[in-house]
Amino acid sequence: MDIIWITTLVIAVIAVLVAAGLVYAGKKFAVKVDERVVAIRGKLPGNNCGACGFAGCDALAAAISAGEAPVNACPVGGGPVAEAIGDIMGTKAGAMERKTAFVACKGTCEVTKNQGNYTGIQDCRAAVLSGMNITDCTYGCLGFGSCAEVCPEQAISIVNGVAVVNRSRCVSCGLCVKTCPRGLISLIPESRIVRVQCSNRDKGPVVRKICSAGCIGCGLCAKQCEFGAIEFDGTLARVNPEKCTLCGKCAAKCPAKVITTPVN
């Protein structure tokens, strides 16, 4: 008989034996896996992005079923997924609002001056490492788009020198938050629309000189707010989302127009 036929036959026999062995072992040594783990894993998005803090969706499913993680631990899936998992686990999901990334800078090419002549690697992290003068504002968006690069959903784009988030595409994985070397990006619940879109902590005159859309630290917004929702530390205003009622009075008074409102 030809050697080719012998080889084919032998390998086929070995493969069948091995397959039979595996099937037999799979039945004989089957271990009961918690069926909730399988069910939870089915409900999770399956991105394996790791935003929950676990190694992936499988690890999170195991942790949820073991009670080591809350049912709403998946930031990507948000409310609907938390509810579905809550049904499996028999607990209430609790209110969990979808969060989206927010870039706290309005310094487009028109409003801010740019003295720097940085010509190195076109990457925000590299630019900050270089220690060179890139933008006059040492707090603002650099516009090289490192956040846009890491975004798995292409939700961030650089428009006129500033990162802009397309909120409908954002899955709140938080990768951009970790990437931004200036810490401008944060995850904020969607409905909390009143936000201060500036991160500059310089004194008012300095800010005015370098950017016409920066928080000058005048404190008018804090005086205007009836609910004490503006936390003002002397140089930069911040909105406390828990107290804010979205009335928009602060935004109307802001001379630099750095507070976003439901209208704009």
Binding site: L22, G26, F29, A30
Partner: protein
């Protein structure tokens, strides 16, 4: 008996699987971050390679060689070793959860490790019989464990040092591994 000990020492130190034959580098670099994990992986490798070289040797002597199928050994070894590790994993999961927990994810990980296949093929190349193959497999895996535990120790010391930024992470590990490899060349002078 004397020759068996020589095979073990020879394959563990003189022709170390990682540092001299450059097999199984990926897990060597990947899992050596922590001492505990590298010891677990070393144990799993000893376990798998010893069993795999035994089975591969039996298969080669009794099936492949008599039928003149020498040229198919690579493919058949891959097939059999992969299935074998799967079965062993299932067996451990059921019968000995403690060992399964300890070896954890490393068992399936090393199924496709080139070191496992490399040992089986080297045994055939060197014309070892069954007992010698098992000894060689055990020795090789022991050498792998020595290498990865040493590297894990070195890395834990490196982590405490203030390195120049370009060397941090993978580059310094590569350099450390290269120096270890050079150091292990010294065993080439052993006369056994």
């Amino acid at each position: 008996m004397k020759s068996l000990i020589m095979i073990i020492i020879g394959s563990a130190l003189i022709s170390n699987v990682v540092l001299n034959q450059f097999l199984g580098i990926c897990s060597f670099l990947g899992v050596s971050k922590q001492m505990k994990a590298s010891i677990s992986l070393g144990a799993a490798v000893i376990f798998v390679i010893t069993i795999a070289s035994a089975v591969a040797s039996l298969l080669y002597d009794n099936v492949l060689k008599p039928l003149g199928m020498d040229f198919m050994k690579t493919i058949i070894f891959i097939l059999v070793i992969a299935a074998l590790v799967q079965i062993v994993e299932m067996f451990l999961k059921k019968k000995s959860p403690a060992v399964y927990q300890a070896l954890g994810i490393y068992l399936p990980l090393i199924t496709t490790n080139c070191a496992v296949l490399g040992v089986a093929l080297n045994n055939v190349k060197d014309g070892f019989n069954f007992i010698e193959s098992v000894a060689s497999g055990f020795g090789t895996a022991l050498g792998y464990t020595i290498a990865i535990v040493l590297l894990a120790g070195i890395r834990s010391r490196i982590n405490e040092k203030d390195l120049p930024a370009p060397l941090r992470g993978a580059p310094i590990v590569m350099i450390a591994a290269a120096l270890m490899s050079i150091a292990f060349m010294g065993f080439g002078g052993l006369n056994i």
